[in-house]
Amino acid sequence: MSNKLIEINDLSAGYYGKPVIHHIQLTVYEGDFIGIIGPNGGGKTTFLKTIAGIIKPLSGSLKFYSPEGGLIENPKLGYLPQVNSFDKSFPISVEEVVLTGLLSAEGRLSRFKASDKEKVRKVLERLNINHLASKSIGELSGGQMQRVFLARAIVSEPWILLLDEPSTYADNRFEAELYELLAQLNEKMTILMVSHDLGMIPSYVKSIACVNGRLHYHPTPEITPEILRVYNCPIELITHGMVPHRVLSTHQENSSTDESY
């Protein structure tokens, strides 16, 4: 078995002392690709933000281990927030946004080196947005902005990648590209991804976590109405586009939309 990177024990977290997620139990291992699903308001984003260190746990423990083993305080995380939470008129260029992904408490608070700019250039190239480097953030479309934030999340080559709805604004072409890229990144990075795109994620993720106040972990990537019902995960099973066959491993896809409420 591979090394564990995150150990979550009886964790509760929320805002202003009021928990949104309760008694969460989860161990994340190196190489995992966990798809996080759940109803709106179920605490998916809260869960991700707690792991990212944005929200402090109210109770329970959240421990990180380095890939070499051993407990550590500040793991190398890459975080991609929901795109709609930004001030689009903020005066900042694409290059500057991605550079902030290289900031860290251990130095690099004051100045960037030429090698940092080189790293940014390479990441932008990998995401096919090199031509946007000097544009200001307000000039981008939603999909372009999402790529920029993905670039910022991966530029420091983190161990753990936390993605909150990375495909919200993606068009079909980028969506396919995105999932291919995530599969590549998963060879080096452990990924936790919040997604509403239940049609797409089962063919890419390795396991599923349903967050609805509590967290239910399902070690295989299948999403079936049964699983959703057992885990009390009231989400609608809507699929669109080409649905990979192995997702639909049950015989009840016709009635799935009705039963999953």
Partner: protein, 277 residues
């Protein structure tokens, strides 16, 4: 019209030096508050500081000290309330804003006799800037420059996306509290130049004008300083020539510069558009 003549007066030389420091301070701080949409917070801090002036006036100590204490307390309170509790930030600002004004009015009322400082507090008098005030402005300008040079990438990261910055273990609270304190001190020292009522314009108009020309924070700061300096000096000269109140004339000059650049930009866009057609 003689432009050399006023340069012979010490008060006019002081006013010119004050214009320079004011432009530097307001360039950095103003670009930051405009970029981060903190104009309303700054308005709250400005008006809250009037409470400290009233108190200083009543008890007979330096008005700058009173204003600085009130500005700092209100700035830190707003920052704390909005981050730690459920009180909405704009509501908290609204309350502090009027509380400061109320305290100021009460103590000014209680102080016997005529209140000459009151008019200067409300409308400013750049021509009455003292030596001490110039040194304070110089000191603050140096601190602000050093802070921005040392921490610029971190400031940019925190201002743009505070949550993301915290995932990289950047000292987000240190940056935030330092900057809100610098904002408070910048406001207090600029009250001398343009008064409580107009100080916000000194902080916002040059950065907004600069933002027409650039969409990045660093050039926006540098342009704000240049535009601020141009507006301050030009406004000062105009106020001398036309015998008008200096603070108000400076603000009107800033607005004129904004209008001209906005107009030029619209016209050039139009011609580019026509060329394409």
């Amino acid at each position: 019209m003689n432009l050399i003549e006023p340069l012979g007066y010490v008060f006019f030389q002081h006013a010119l030096i004050a214009s320079v420091f004011s432009a530097i301070i307001c360039g950095f701080i103003g670009a930051y508050i405009v970029a981060r949409r903190m104009v309303f917070i700054s308005g709250g801090i400005t008006h809250a500081s009037f409470g400290g002036m009233g108190l200083a006036y009543f008890f007979g100590f330096n008005y700058l000290l009173g204003a600085a204490i009130f500005a700092l307390i209100s700035a830190l309170t707003v920052e704390y309330l909005s981050k730690r509790t459920e009180v909405r930030e704009d509501s908290a600002i609204g309350m502090l804003w009027s509380l400061g004004m109320a305290i100021g009015i009460i103590f000014t009322f209680l102080t016997p006799g005529y209140a000459p400082n009151l008019m200067s507090a409300l409308f400013g008098s750049i021509l009455a800037v003292s030596n001490t005030e110039l040194w304070l402005m110089a000191g603050l300008a140096v601190i602000i420059i050093l802070f921005f040079v040392e921490f610029f990438p971190a400031i940019l990261a925190v201002a743009f996306d505070i949550e993301y910055a915290s995932t990289h273990h950047i000292p987000v609270n240190f940056i935030n509290y330092s900057l809100i304190s610098l904002i408070a001190l910048a406001i207090v020292l600029n009250i001398r130049v343009s008064g409580i009522i107009l100080v916000l314009a000194m902080m916002t108009i040059p950065p907004v004008t600069a933002n027409l020309l650039t969409k990045r924070l660093k050039p926006m700061i540098l342009l704000s300083i240049a535009l601020g300096l141009a507006g301050n000096v030009l406004g000062l000269i105009l106020s001398y020539l036309l015998n008008l109140p200096s603070g108000a004339t400076i603000i009107v000059t800033h607005i004129l510069i904004f209008g001209i650049i906005k107009l030029c930009k619209s016209v050039s866009k139009l011609t580019v558009h026509e060329r394409i057609l």
